[in-house]
Structure formats: structure tokens, C-alpha cells
């Protein structure tokens, strides 16, 4: 049997999810946002939540998330996505409501909304893309920028005496009684993508079951902002970002054995 012969519908093990529409994403080549968008589309499809899902888009590079995943969206003011999500979920309790936010949006201007929504235990999922930089505005320093990391507003590297310490905001959320599931993942390898998918799926499930607030941080790259190739950016992330933001579950009151929920996760949805 030849290579071309197996390209038949019955042999498909992975394909573009239907909810990811045909629009070309505006993201730079290799941007982590695309992978996470794809996962959201896959998960909403697999969970059969198309008619129940309301996404809250941030201000930042993902401001246009609504152009790519064919679900209902609200585009929030900078940092206010958790407040928007709070009202949407409380007024529509049978809906699956998630926010999608970057580190500038969630950990700087929206810190108050993030902490209070999580502290109230709003039944929402927060997807937090942490690449340590403001991508959309051209690569400025964010609260999660690492010490010494060069950005357009820390051109000689972030200095603790001037700019304070990198903010591991996800760790703060662990300590709040309102959160049920807090995890830190990445999407730089196939295995990491599978784990992130399982994590987001768990978060969406928690939101539907009214378990409290779930937070999925995805430690990500911004290769343009970091001024690297996508492959170099992945390596740099593993070497530097993971030290400050280590990967793994930080809290899981719903499913205390972290390995348990990873089982049975469909990594090849069309199989």
C-alpha cells in the first residue's frame, strides 16, 4: 500500500476541527494562540457544547479570537473578561462560559477582576496565555516578564529594583477557596498539547458542573516579541519560563488524582 493510498477519510486520525473556521489567523507564524484556539474548537465540538458556549475574548493579541472559533463571543474591555464572564454565567447558568486572556490582560490591568471572580468561585473557566510580554502592542514588558528579559520597555532586561518581580499570578489563585482546578500547561510538544487539551476539557467540565473557577495557564511563546524563531522560542521557554512557571497541576479539588482525568482523553478525535 502506497503513501497516497492511505489518504482516505476512514484513515483520518487528526484533522482541523470544524468549529475552527476558514479565516486566516492574524497571529505570527508559530504563535501558541493558534494551538490553544484549535484545542478550544476541538473540545467544544467533542463535548457537544456549541450551543452552550460563550467565550469572552480579551484585549491583546487574542482580541480577535472571535474571528476564528465559530461560537458566540463577547469581546471585553482590557482586563475585564472575568467580570464580563461573571455576569454572563450568573444570568445564564446553564451556559459554558470561559475567558481567554493574556498575561497583560489577566495579570496586570485585570488582576482585580481575576482574583475576585476566582475568589467568588464563579463557575467559569479561565484560559490564561502567559508569554511574558505584551504581543499586540509590540512587545512591552508584562507582569510575568522574567528577570533580565529584554522587551521594548525593558530594553536592557527587566530589573527587579525598577520593575518588581515576575508575578506568578496562577500561584496566588491556588490559595483562593473559589478555585477548584488550577493547572499550568504548555503547547510546545505533541505530548504537552495533549495534556493542555485534557486540562481545558476538565476546566470546561468543571464550569458546566458548577464546581467553581478553573484556571488553565498555558505557558506560551511570543517568538516575535522575544525576537526568536518559533523553534528557538520553544527551547527558550523550556529553559527559562518553566523555571519560574513550572508545568503541572497546582490544585485539583474535583479530581484529586491528577493522572485520573488524563485517562480516556481523546487525543485523536476523529479516530
Amino acid at each position: 500500500m502506497s503513501y497516497e493510498d492511505i489518504k482516505k477519510p476512514e484513515n483520518i486520525v487528526y484533522q482541523r476541527p470544524a468549529l475552527l473556521n476558514g479565516n486566516h489567523m492574524h497571529y505570527c507564524p508559530g504563535c501558541s494562540h493558534g494551538v490553544v484556539h484549535k484545542l478550544i474548537a476541538e473540545i467544544v465540538e467533542e463535548m457537544g457544547l456549541q450551543d452552550k458556549t460563550i467565550g469572552i475574548a480579551p484585549v491583546g493579541c487574542a482580541v480577535f479570537a472571535y474571528n476564528y472559533v465559530d461560537i458566540d463571543w463577547i469581546e471585553a474591555a482590557h482586563g475585564r473578561a472575568p467580570a464580563v464572564a461573571t455576569a454572563v454565567k450568573r444570568l445564564n447558568p446553564d451556559r459554558m462560559v470561559f475567558t481567554y486572556q493574556g498575561d497583560g490582560d489577566l495579570a496586570a490591568i485585570g488582576t482585580g477582576e481575576t482574583i475576585h471572580a476566582a475568589n467568588r468561585g464563579e463557575n467559569i473557566a479561565i484560559i490564561f496565555i502567559n508569554n511574558g510580554i505584551y504581543g499586540m502592542t509590540g512587545g512591552q514588558m508584562s507582569p510575568t516578564t522574567l528577570e533580565g528579559m529584554k522587551t521594548s520597555t525593558s530594553p536592557y532586561g527587566r530589573r527587579i529594583d525598577l520593575n518588581g518581580y515576575p508575578l506568578p499570578i496562577t500561584n496566588l489563585l491556588v490559595g483562593l477557596d473559589g478555585t477548584c482546578y488550577v493547572t499550568r500547561q504548555s503547547v510546545h510538544t505533541a505530548a504537552a498539547v495533549r495534556k493542555t487539551k485534557a486540562a481545558i476539557k476538565q476546566a470546561f467540565k468543571n464550569a458546566m458542573e458548577g464546581r467553581g473557577t478553573s484556571v488553565v495557564e498555558v505557558v506560551s511563546t511570543c517568538n516575535s516579541g522575544w525576537k526568536m524563531t518559533p523553534v528557538q522560542a520553544n527551547d527558550w521557554m523550556v529553559e527559562h519560563m518553566f523555571k519560574k512557571y513550572p508545568i503541572g497541576d497546582l490544585k485539583n479539588t474535583v479530581n484529586p488524582a491528577p493522572a485520573a482525568h488524563a485517562k480516556g482523553v481523546e487525543t485523536h478525535p476523529k479516530q
Binding site: 497516497e4 492511505i6 484513515n11 487528526y14 508559530g30 504563535c31 493558534g34 510538544t189 505533541a190 520553544n234
Partner: protein, 76 residues
């Protein structure tokens, strides 16, 4: 012993040539076109060694632009 063979289709017009699939492929199947570009000017990925494909989908999983369809079949 059954053998697994795989194949990938790459939507070259969606590809932005980010090289992540090339790095993710454990079987050295993929490369970026060294000279040719797509309509948007990107050196898109292509199957340089198609016969090595095992259909693991690693390339497709890490692809930010969802350009890759993966096929796999067991051959007895």
C-alpha cells in the same frame, strides 16, 4: 508483526512556515520548502520523506494554523 503507516496532507496555503511541525516530527518526514513559497510568501512545510511517516499526528498537534490532516493505517 503489523506495521503502522501514516500520511499527512498539508494545506500549504494556510501554512506560515513556522517550522514547529518539522521540529515535532519524530520521523524526520517534514521539511520547509527551501525556495518555493505559498501565496502569502511563506516557505511552507512539505513531506520530504513521506515513506517514513508513522501517522503519530505530532506535527498536526503542534501546528498553530491547523494546516495538517493526518492519516494512519495498520498493515498486517
Amino acid at each position: 508483526m503489523p506495521k503502522v503507516i501514516g500520511a499527512v496532507d498539508i494545506n500549504i496555503e494556510r501554512c506560515k512556515g513556522c517550522d514547529l511541525c518539522v521540529a515535532a516530527c519524530p520521523a524526520d518526514v517534514l521539511l520547509l520548502q527551501p525556495k518555493e513559497v505559498n501565496d502569502r510568501g511563506y516557505h511552507f512545510a512539505y513531506t520530504a520523506n513521506p515513506d517514513k511517516c508513522i501517522g503519530c499526528a505530532a506535527c498536526a498537534l503542534v501546528c498553530p494554523d491547523a494546516c495538517i490532516t493526518v492519516y494512519r493505517k495498520k498493515i498486517d
